[in-house]
């Protein structure tokens, strides 16, 4: 892996773009599927996340121009290289992502079925944007793109729960209502996480020529580290479902505090996964297929 100021900057902005984009999409999915109390997800926060996602995604264009030009700050504004980047998978992916985010933003101003319909279109376009670039974009069969979309929708649903559940456990809802919300989230999450994991596994098999490349190649080891963090995340989620949520339901002392701490730790692990993904998609090469 070769890091320089441009690749590090791209990794940082990819991380922000991934986190803010999937958080925005996830907030929509969480709200539509579980219909929680609206005060758990302030509209202003949703708008902020979407705007941040749009900005971070947009800034990846000049940063990539700068990477190619490698001629200092002013190199980001080379028009010839800008045209090449825009007319590439980088440009396609960014266009779809920003389009989806803008539609999501517009959808926030509606309610009911119209809000749900517009949001669903937006989330699908956003998920589609991730299939336009990267190691999986050219792999056959095209079913792999569908797996990536399902994988991302699962991730979005999962992280979309963090803020509402944290706020609920922080006193915005009584313990019993928080436990009920967390329980309903968990009922969906079991199937979604299983699907997310299977989709991820199939994608990993298509990226690596053999399981041994998980250990013998730089890409494989980085991917392996991501999988390890995912298992840690799974462990925390299981702890929430089997111990913390039942404890909250019976209003045991400190149950809400422990749930909040668990959500904070889950958020940290998810952030780590996003950083690893940004590194994988920026400075690592796919191992050779034989």
């Amino acid at each position: 892996m070769a890091f320089d100021v441009w690749s590090i900057s791209i990794i940082i902005f990819k991380f922000i773009s991934y986190a803010a984009t999937l958080l925005s999409a996830g907030s929509f999915l969480f709200a539509v599927i579980l219909k929680p109390n609206a005060k758990l997800s302030p509209k202003s926060w949703n708008i902020l996340a979407i705007v941040l996602a749009i900005l971070a995604s947009f800034l990846l264009i000049p940063l990539n121009v700068g990477l190619f030009n490698d001629d200092g700050f002013s190199g980001m504004f080379d028009f010839e290289i800008f045209k090449i980047v825009i007319d590439s998978p980088i440009g396609d992916s960014t266009l779809y992502r920003i389009l989806g985010l803008i539609i999501l933003l517009v959808g926030l101003h509606f309610t009911g079925i119209l809000h749900n319909f517009i949001g669903a279109i937006a989330v699908l376009i956003i998920s589609w944007s991730f299939t336009q670039i990267g190691h999986l974009s050219n792999i056959e069969p095209s079913l792999i793109k569908l797996l990536l979309i399902l994988h991302l929708l699962g991730v979005a649903y999962w992280i979309g729960a963090f803020i509402p559940l944290y706020r609920a456990a922080n006193g915005l809802l009584p313990d019993e209502e928080t436990a009920d919300l967390a329980h309903r989230f968990g009922q969906w999450a079991v199937y979604i996480v299983i699907g997310l994991f299977i989709a991820g596994l199939i994608m990993a098999f298509n990226l690596l020529a053999s399981p041994s490349q998980l250990f013998s190649t730089e890409y494989g080891r980085t991917l392996g580290f991501k999988i390890l963090i995912f298992f840690a995340l799974l462990g925390l989620a299981a702890l929430n479902k089997l111990r913390l949520v039942p404890a909250l339901k019976t209003s045991q002392p400190n149950a809400a505090k422990r749930l909040r701490q668990s959500i904070m730790l889950e958020s940290l692990l998810v952030a780590t996964i996003f950083i690893i993904t940004a590194i994988l998609t920026t400075v690592t090469q796919l191992p050779a297929h034989h």
Binding site: F68, D70, I81, I84, G134
Partner: protein
């Protein structure tokens, strides 16, 4: 297939010249670009390209003209 983005030739003295790629923008497996005749000395060619899955790739080729 890759799309060439930038090629720079650097002399021993550190002088850099970007090659004109305006006729070499199409994605291809192999690119052949002519430069001006070079005098004797050590040079490095720095190249940057865009892979068809959107990844920036780069490399350098040192060579010597006798």
């Amino acid at each position: 297939m890759t799309k060439l983005v930038k090629i720079t030739v650097e002399t021993e003295a550190g002088e850099k010249t970007d090659l004109d790629l305006s006729n070499h923008r199409a994605p291809q497996l192999e690119h052949i670009i002519k430069s001006e005749p070079l005098s004797a000395g050590h040079y490095v060619v720095y190249w940057r390209a865009l892979s068809d899955d959107g990844h920036p790739i780069k490399g350098s080729i040192p060579f010597k003209v006798r």
